[in-house]
């Protein structure tokens, strides 16, 4: 589902964020990406979401070599990837419902379908009662769950999360991670960047460790 072959990323200015990274994440697999800040976790996720392009090597997502994707095709690739950000990235002038509905509106779903799917997604993150609220009225954990609902609402095969529990207390963090496990159980490939080592080891999934841009440890196999 996600395959990195000898991937290098050098930013302008000569900084090497990733060096010779190789790994393969099978469909339906769940993995954590860890390492110190600056180790290249975010860069790796950015390459998958086409926010950056690899300097060398190949990134293949869902059978598609991202090297060959033109600028115009990027939106369609991103529709197959749900992304969750540490800072949630919600639209504060729109209700929870409208925030979650946005990916569906973009893809041209009918109003009936939008209503049905948004409520299903909000139900999954336990926020059905808050659909008419605005993000400012919600707690940090609730905002993060809105972000998750938006990422899964159009049922993408891949879910990426960049430090999704960065600002949450341990209890809430665990709750969020359990949510990711649930999506993984229905077949979604999940890759989570996190430095919460205690929580990661507790979950018992595959762990990829980056050190200064190199993949130094890969607990799982494939």
């Amino acid at each position: 589902m996600i395959r990195f072959s000898n991937v290098n990323k050098r930013y302008t200015g000569g900084y090497d964020a990733l060096v010779g990274v190789n790994f393969h994440l099978a469909p339906g697999e769940m993995a954590f990406l860890t390492g110190h800040s600056g180790a290249g976790k975010s860069t790796l996720l950015k390459l998958i979401a086409l926010l950056e392009r690899a300097s060398r090597g190949q990134v293949v997502i869902n059978g598609q070599n991202l090297d060959k994707v033109s600028r115009r095709r990027i939106p369609y690739i991103r529709r197959n990837i749900g992304i969750i950000f540490q800072d949630h990235r919600l639209l504060f002038d729109r209700t929870v419902f409208d925030n979650v509905a946005l990916p569906l509106i973009i893809s041209g779903f009918s109003s009936n379908e939008v209503g049905r799917r948004v409520r299903a997604a909000l139900d999954k993150v336990n926020l059905l009662r808050k659909e008419k609220s605005y993000p400012v009225m919600l707690s940090g954990g609730e905002q993060q769950r809105v972000g998750i609902a938006r990422a899964i609402v159009n049922k993408p095969p891949i879910l990426l999360a960049d430090e999704p529990t960065g600002n949450l207390d341990p209890e809430l963090s665990e709750e969020i991670m359990k949510l990711f496990e649930q999506f993984n159980q229905v077949g979604v490939t999940v890759l989570i960047a996190s430095h919460d080592l205690a929580l990661i080891s507790q979950m018992g999934h595959r762990v990829l460790t980056l050190t200064k841009g190199k993949l130094t440890q890969d607990s799982g196999a494939s």
Partner: protein, 329 residues
């Protein structure tokens, strides 16, 4: 037979759902457009003051050339009546006898192209010249009257336009008694020439102000894009195409152009209204039925269309220029 019916039924079933799906897609597409269309209007109404300022600037920029156009149209209408002032002077050869001259006058009066014929004899011409020029004494020194007799022909209205009058002049020149035929419409031609220049000036002004409208709108939309930077980034992150992001800004440009031309129309109507009474008063002093006319239906549509087109163009340029700069990181 039954099998055939079943198959036909299956074919119908397999067609109608996809048919319905297409119809739903089209309806959804139109609905989303309508939502963005009116949504962008709603967004403009959230900042009434700045929206009003921008549309006012556009309205004034459109009203200036359009108003001058209206003024020019009225002057043209007024000068249309001046064609009746066209006259052709026929200077006869000095050896033409008096009876022969009368014959020519009679012949001219019978022509359908001619409205009026005035005859000035050599003697009358001399008297007039003496009276008006002050060179009377000099003429007395001559032993005979050097002035020719003149027939002044006023063409019928239909033949008073510059072209028709020229044709008439060419015919008169063929009369063998006519020494010189001259068209007295130079000042009308000059007026027309001046109006041509003014019209050209209005066109140039229109192009310049149109460019101004595009730039003002481009800047307004640029600011709107910057204000919604975060939103654009998020939409790009979750797979929104450039067309999707562009849409609300283009519709904003449409609305700015629409309301701008509406304001221009109101400004011109107000001006025409305010001027019509004094103009009618002035016309009455000249015993004229002239009254000021405003924009006609075609011109109103043209004004609106121009405004909307310029609005779309301005926002298109701004969006094309600035949307690419905003990329999620």
């Amino acid at each position: 037979m039954a099998k055939q019916q079943r198959e036909a039924g299956r074919v119908r079933d397999s067609v109608s759902p996809s048919d319905r799906a297409i119809r739903t897609r089209v309806r959804t597409y139109l609905l989303r457009h309508a939502q963005v269309f009116f949504g962008s209007l709603g967004r403009l109404s959230k900042t009434p003051f700045s929206t009003f300022m921008t549309t006012m600037v556009i309205g004034i920029a459109l009203a200036l050339p359009a108003g001058l156009h209206v003024l020019l149209q009225n002057v043209q209408q007024l000068s249309g009546g001046l064609d009746s002032a066209t006259q052709i002077s026929l200077f006869l050869k000095t050896d033409t006898s008096e009876p022969r001259t009368q014959e020519i006058v009679k012949r001219l009066r019978k022509m359908s192209e001619v409205r009026q014929v005035d005859y000035v004899s050599r003697q009358q011409a001399l008297e007039e010249f003496t009276r008006l020029s002050g060179f009377g004494d000099a003429l007395k020194a001559l032993d005979q009257n050097p002035l020719p007799s003149v027939i002044v022909v006023t063409p019928a209205l239909r033949h008073a336009t510059p072209d028709a009058a020229e044709r008439l002049l060419a015919r008169f020149k063929l009369f063998k008694e006519v020494d010189l035929a001259q068209l007295d419409m130079q000042w009308i031609q000059r007026l027309y020439a001046i109006m041509d220049i003014v019209q050209r000036g209005v066109q140039i002004l229109g192009v310049i102000l149109g460019l101004g409208v595009v730039l003002v709108l481009g800047n307004t939309i640029r600011l709107a894009i910057q204000n919604r930077r975060d939103e654009i980034i998020i939409i790009k992150l979750i797979g929104g195409t450039d067309a999707f992001i562009r849409r609300p800004f283009l519709y904003s440009g449409f609305w700015y152009g629409f309301f701008g031309s509406l304001i221009a129309f109101l400004l011109i109507s107000l001006a025409v209204n305010a001027l019509s009474e004094p103009v009618a008063g002035l016309a009455l002093l000249y015993r004229s039925q002239f009254s000021l006319s405003g924009l006609n239906a075609t011109e109103v549509v043209l004004l609106g269309g121009t405004g909307i087109l310029l609005g779309l163009l301005g926002s298109w340029l701004a969006v094309g220029r600035h949307l690419r700069d905003i990329e999620p990181t």
